[in-house]
Structure formats: C-alpha cells, structure tokens
Amino acid sequence: MKIPLEWLKEFVNIRLSPAELADRLTMAGLEVKAVEETASGVVFEAEITPNRPDWLSIYGVAREVAAVTRQKLRENGKWKMENRKNPFSNCKVLIHDAKACPRYIGRVIEGVNVSSSPEEMVKRLSAMGTRSINNVVDITNYVLFELGQPLHAFDLDKLQGSTIHIRFAKAGEEIITIDGITRKLTPQDLVIADEIRPVAIAGVMGGKETEVTESTRNTFLESACFDPMLVRRTARRLGLASESSYRFERGIPLESVLLGSDRAVEFLARLAGAQKIGPRVDAGKKTSQERKIVLNVHRVQHLLGGGITQKQVQNCLSGLGFSISKKGQKARGRKQELGVAVPGFRKDIKEEIDLAEEVARVHGYDKIPSQLPAMRETTIGPSPLLEFQRDLRRRLAGLGYDEARTHSLTSHTALKTFGQAGRSDLGKIQNPLSEEQEWMRPTLVIGLTQAAQRNFFHQRSGVRLFELSHTYSLSKGHPRESLKLGFLLGGDQPRHWQNKEEEYQWGDLKGAIEAILSGLKFQGIQWERASLPWAIEESAAEVYHQGEILGIAAQIAPKLLSTLDIEKPVFVAELEVEKLFKHAGKETARYRPLPKFPSVRRDIALELKEAVPAAQVMAVIREKGKELLESIQLFDYYQGKQIFSGNKSLAFSLEYRAPDRTLTDEEINHVHQQVAQGLMERLGAKVR
C-alpha cells in the first residue's frame, strides 16, 4: 500500500526524517519496502501483512506512527455528522442474513452536483494509484484510503422501490458490473439488491445500471461490512479483486461503517453540493462486543526471555489503544494479571499471545536478549535412513558422478517418449501452470536423460550424473513416494594422453552398481533380464538380492535418444533406496583373521558358445573349485578372428587357498583340473 507522508501528517505529527520513520515502522512490523520521492511528496510503499487490515488506511497507519513515535493521534472529530432527524425520503435496509452482513448503513443524499474533484483530492488519489472519475466516486475512494472503509454510491433514481436488500443471489440471476461484464451469480454470492434485481455484488463490485454518472442527481450511499469469507470466495470465483474486496476479505470493524459513512457525507456536502442529506438507515449490529483478555505479565516476560518490565508492557499496550485495568492482583503471589480491553479495530487480537507479540514488536525485538537454548535429549533420535542417504551421495560423488536435482513434475510428452504415458498409477496435477508441470514423475530416468541431453547440447562429450530423490505413484488413489537412486552415464570417457578416447559401455554402469553394492556389504547379487520400454532390449537388467528387486539398469534405446538429439550411448540405472537400506549390512563389522597361508593363482582360458552367460561359467568354476577357490577374476574377453565365429573366449584368474596349510602343487593341479573338466563337460567349453 502507498502511504503519502503529507496525508499521514493530517493525523499525526512526524518529527523523524522519512528514512528514520520508514525504519521505525519496518522494525515494528509495518514493512516499508520503498521510500519514493513523487510529485506529491514522499510516498512510502508498505507491505501490509494479512493480520493487520487496520493498517490498510492512512488513518490506521497514523495510529501506528503515533504509537511507535509516542505522538498523539489527532482523533479528528470534526467529520462526524449529526444524524439529521428530518426524514424526507423513505428508504429501508433489509439484511437477510446477519452473519453475511453484520452492519449496513444506507443514506439518501439528494441534489448532488456530479463534477470533477478538487485538485488536492485528485492528487492524493493518484498517489494511491487510483484514477479520478468524478467527485462522488472519488469521495468514496478517498474515504476508503483514508479510513479503510469501502463505500459505494448508487444512482438513487435508478434503484427500484424503496427497500435495499442484502441477500444471497438467486439461481440464474445476473448482473452487469461497472466494468461492463455480465456476471452470472450463484446462491453463494451475497448481493445488494433493490426490489427487483441485484444492483451490486456485496463487497466486490457495483452494477453498471445503477452507477453514478454525470447525470446523477440523487445518490444512495452504502457503507457496510460483510462476511470476509463470502467476499473472498465470490471475488476469487469471479476473478475480481479490488481495493474494496481486499479490505472486506480482511475484515472491517463495525465502528468503521459509521465513521466512513459520516466522513463521506461531510465531503459530499462540502465538495458535491449535496443539498439534502437523509438520515442514517443503520441496519445490523452497532458495536462489536468488547473483548477483554487477561494478560499474565510474568508469562509474557518469560516467553520473551526477559528484557522488559511490567511498566513497559503496559506502556506498549496503552500506546496502541488497548485499555488496561489491573485485575486479580494477587496479594500474596507475585502473579500480576492485567485486564486488557481490545479496541474494535484490532480483530487480530484474540488471546494473550497476540498481546505478547504487540508488546514485543513495539518494545523492539532488538531489545530482547539473545541466548542459546538449554538442550535436553529429544524424544526423536537421528534417522539412520537419512544418514544412509548422505553416505550414498558421497559414494556416488566418489565414483565420479555429479549430483543432479531434477524437477519432480514432468510433461505428458516426456512420459510418452519414455513409454510411461497412460500408466494408471500416475499422479496428475489438477492446476498446473504449464504442461511441463502436469504429472508427478514415476521415474528419475526421464529427468536424468533430459539433464544429459542439455549437457550434450553444450558440447560436453561425456556425462556422469546421479540423483537421490523421490518418484511418485498412486496406489488405490493414495499417493506413494519412493526414494530412488538414479544414475546415468553417457557419451565418452574423459579423454587423456594415456588413454584413447572411448565411449562408456554397459560394464561401466554395472561396475558402478557393483561398487556401490559391495561398499554396502551386499553379497549374492543376481542379474536378470528385464523388459523396459525405453531400453535396448538385450541391455535391460534387473538387480536382485535374496529374491527382492533392488533396481534396474539398461542402455537407453538409440531410437528414443535420437528424438532428444542424443547421438551417444546413454546408460541408466535406478535403485530403490529403501531396499538398499533394508538389505545393506548394518551390523557393526566383525573382524575376520587374515589368512596365515599363501594363496596360489592359476589362469584358465576357455573358448565357448557366445550364448553361454558368464554367470553360468563362474557358477561352474565356483562349484568345482569348492572351498579351496577363494576368488575368480575375468581378465580377458575376446571375440574375433582367432576363434570360431559364434564363440567367445573368456580368461579367468583363479585364486586358491586353504586356511590351515600351504597348498601343494599336487592339490592345486587336482582342483584346477576338476574346474577345467567341469567346464568342458557342463558347458562344452574348450580349454585353450
């Protein structure tokens, strides 16, 4: 909200410089965002928090200025009009629902002269960002800014009958609002209606047909307050936010309804030549019930942590317009309780804590001491799963992967590209701003691939990325979040002088997975063929541990990649973090004595059918090597001219060891022979 200082000065003396005042107000919670020099002097741009509708007026801000600078607020009584007794026009106001409209003051004003407003008023309205229309409309706007009370002036002669109804719209009713648009109304919309039709949407906007124009002679002036929730709903539904609806939504005190009406009438008499001013037709409650809060000074002092005396508490509150009576002062105890009466304009003050905040902010947050809390052991301890995540991130970074953070929402197009569109378990956003935000991602693969795409686009030849984050799905209509570890490897390996440039391969991805799993003390991992819509079929794998799937790994299909303009190979894996956590070795490691006797290495080279999986070969080796076999390492893989086409050659290095003795050549020869024999018999391998 704009606050022109010269307008503010009508109500309070200001001895501080604009910058000092801006700082004082900001430090009291009325945040001055900018101090602007304009044609009409210095104007503050303030941000008013939703709890303080009483600051949405020049007068309200003046009240705060007076409180924080210890000045007197000019309770300017001169605008109070006497309520003239000579009724000359019949007019009734009928409130159909007291909750929807707690108070409504209508007034008939005859013989107005609609013309332009005085220069001073035009200037002030323009400082507030409002255009001058004519003197009558300008007066209603002026009072809105000055006192925070929205008003509406109708052309009296265009109203039908003599009763104004404040009622809910009937189904099918319509109104053309001042902006010329026809609005369909619903029974949830509160309207101001004459005998036959709605003439205004309560608190939101007036009707075109009854607006004040150049030819208006007589007006009906409305000053009212409405149920904030109703105004808010209707304004939202119609997409009509105005200075008036903004204030109604935040609440107008009953007392202000009278003040605003009187102030406007005074202006109408002075500036629009109003000749006959009718009596107030005042419907609804006149004053709000006085609210009294018991304030325990000690409790407030304690909550703030000290630094404030009882006298200061009292001064802060009375400076803000609260009246204080000492109440229940216990003779013996030190308990000091104050009875605090809340003024009508402070609808935000409901309990003691609200008063504590008032005291703290006016006294100054800077005067409250600063002290570290004395911590006790809490009922919730550290989460091992979170520790696990920290650990995983470091492992991936150690393996040379850069951490990515991709968006949790994705587009239909992206889902479709990866064959995920049309899944029945996808979460869909009801109110996306763009098609990029329409769906909750079911996998990290999409986002990681898009990130790779961006990097390739920037001429990067190779990427290694990982992300540890959630994917989402629906299960029987309920959302499910799964924590995933995704990683991607694509393009070329880093090129350097000891190594020719080479593209990443499937083995690089699998190696990373194995490194992670072995670091987590996994034993007995199985790799199974899988079917993934976005992958090269032969490359798609599922990783299992004890029959439970830990995740997937595959090379992305080149056809898919070409739609993303990626020409390099891309490999992706996605592991289930909670399953990794569940199966990872969590027990404190137990030391196993180091071997006392030497091991012996023997190599074995085989030629066998290409289709025989390596896992099968190793299984036979393990079975035949029995307990003497300590480890197997594949050190060569060959396919080419030197062997039969359709065959491959594998060379393993086998390590034999006995725990209790040094193995003799004889023993080793024997077991190695068994291994070779087994491979020949079981797999038709040729030992080379």
Partner: protein, 340 residues
C-alpha cells in the same frame, strides 16, 4: 713380498680406472667377475699366498683384503650410479606433464547447503527428519493455523493432485505437525525438503524449490532462545562477523513472528546492489510456535512453548555463492555443478 704388494697395488689402480670408465651395467658386471669373481684376479693372488714366507702372510692377506673392500665399494657405487642413469634415460621425468585424470563427482550445491545448515543445528542437539512431499490440507494448512478461505492463504499458492484430496506441500512446516503428532516434547528437529508452488518460472522463481524447517519444543523455550540459536546459525554459516536482525512480521503458525535478516554478505552492512543498499539480507521467517498449532496436535500450550523457523535453501545458496538465476539449480549443467 715387495713385488706382490706392488702387483696388487697396480691391479687395484687398473681396476678402479676400468670401473670408472664402465658405461654399461653389463660391462661393469664383466669387470666384477674379472677382478672379484671366484676365479678372478684377486683370487689368483690369494692362491699365491702359499708361495710367500710364513711371516709375511698376515700382512699380504691384509693388503689383499683391503683391495677387495675398496673394489667392492667402487663396484657398488658405480652400479648405483649406472642404475639411476639408466632409469632417468627410460623416463623423461617431466613433472609438469598432466596426471592421469581421475574423475571426481560433485555434490549438488543445494545438497551442500542443506548439509551445512543441518550440521549447524545438529551441533546444538537438533535431529534431521523428513516428511512427505504429497500432503493434505490438514498438514499444509489447517493444523498450521491457516484456515480455509483466509487471506493468509494468499502467500501459499498450492498445487493439488487431481481429485483435490491431496496437494504438494507448499512449505516444509508440514513436518512440524507430522513430528508433533507422533512424538512428545522435548523435540528439536530440522527438516529439509522440496516444496512446490505454482509460480511462473523466471530467474528468481521456480515451481519447485527447497526449504529447511526448524522446530524446538520444550518447557521454557523463549524468544531469546530463538534469537540465540539463529544468531549462532548465521555466524557458523556466513562467518563470525555476521550480524542478525529480527523484524516483526506475520506468519499464521508463529507468534510473535519475525523475518530474520543477516548483515549483507557482500558489503558487510554498508549497503550495495545485492542488498538493495539496505545493508541487510532477508534469509528466513521465524517465531514462537502459535498456541493454535500446539492445540492442533494435542500439546498443552500452557505447558510447552517452542520456536520454529523456515528458510529457502536456494536463496541461501544464491547469496552464499553469488548465483543470480534459480533455474541453474535444476538445469544440471555440469559446468555449473562442477563449480561447487
């Protein structure tokens, strides 16, 4: 006796000269065999020992031994020198040649900031927790004292899932409620996580970003404690000289509420373009937990008090590292990620 001494001396001189001249390890080894070998020249003298008088033998033996020692040492020295020469010939030893690259990954800058923030609070006894990203009205709004159809909802535009029953949390304060519902005080938690708001994306807005929420609940927690904890936090995260300022503000779930500023990291409070010449940078919202929040989770507000705070991770990372576009965090350009 005398001729033998002379002969041995000559042999020694000759051998030393040849050792000196040897250019190859092979040649040196040849010389060694020639002089010190089992059938070498020195051995020949030893064999002649029997021909000299008994009385001269000890002296002659000593001379032969001394020559043997001298030559052995000379051979060793020459061998070492030849070895190192041959090594330096094989490798050029250009220490300025680039090393073999070993790729090292980088943690995302947001991860780094999250961990730094968490570590400060863990250091004073807080525990890191997390809560769901898909939430309901109760956790995102109602229990946090943000009633339906209330203007205080204006600052929380929210994504809803189709059907309207679930939403994407627009703040991590949801975790306060989740934790208080399942545990009793004393509680001291920090909860990092993603939040979502339907904002048009530009250099300073993203529809997804990260926050860290903090909550301390116990008997006798005061506003002074809030100031103390956040003061420590600011100094640990931004440096010892950092000053902190509390400005009154409004949040539905805290009262008294404050916006917390730190002295500008760039100009140390003097005023620059980063802080808009104010000398202060807003970094978070904070306050004492509102009694209505305690009531919503069944805590007795007369018995317990608490403080809560919440900060945007992107904002802190941007201030800390001088990043001027929030979109960079989610583009995952390796040229960006590698800088942290």
């Amino acid at each position: 006796m005398q001729p033998l001494i002379e002969q041995v001396g000559q042999l020694c001189q000759e051998a030393l000269r040849q050792i000196q001249e040897a250019a190859e390890p092979v040649a040196l080894e040849g010389l060694r065999v020639q002089y010190l070998g089992r059938k070498g020249k020195l051995a020949e003298f030893t064999a002649q020992m029997g021909q000299i008088p008994q009385s001269d033998r000890p002296a002659a033996g000593e001379i032969i031994n001394r020559v043997k020692q001298t030559l052995t040492a000379a051979f060793q020295e020459k061998q070492t020198s030849l070895n190192s020469q041959s090594l330096s010939r094989r490798f050029s030893f250009d220490i300025t040649l680039p090393g073999v690259p070993r790729p090292i990954g980088h943690l995302h800058p947001l991860t780094q900031v999250i961990e730094q923030v968490c570590e400060v609070f863990e250091g004073i006894g807080f525990v890191v927790v997390e809560g769901p990203e898909i939430e309901t009205e109760r956790y995102n709004f109602e229990a946090l004292n943000i009633p339906a159809d209330h203007p205080s909802r204006d600052s929380f535009d929210t994504f809803y899932l189709e059907g309207g029953k679930y939403l994407l949390r627009s703040q991590t304060s949801t975790v306060q409620i989740r934790i208080m519902e399942k545990a009793k005080p004393p509680l001291a938690i920090v909860a990092p996580g993603k939040v979502f708001r339907p904002d048009a994306v530009d250099a300073s807005h993203s529809f997804m970003f990260h926050q860290i929420e903090g909550l301390l609940v116990d008997q006798g927690v005061t506003f002074a404690h809030l100031k103390g904890a956040l003061d420590l936090f600011a100094k640990r995260l931004f440096g010892k000289e950092t000053k902190i300022r509390f400005r009154p503000h409004y949040f539905p779930f805290t009262e008294p509420s404050a916006e917390v500023d730190v002295s500008c990291l760039l100009c140390q409070g003097k005023g620059c373009s980063v802080c808009g010449r104010k000398g202060w940078l807003e970094i978070m919202g904070a306050g004492m937990v509102h009694p209505n929040v305690f009531r919503a989770v069944g805590y007795d507000p007369k018995k317990y008090t608490g403080f809560a705070f919440g900060m945007g991770i992107e904002r802190i990372a941007m201030l800390k590292h001088g990043i001027d576009d929030i979109r960079l965090f989610f583009e995952n350009d390796v040229r960006f990620l590698e800088q942290f």
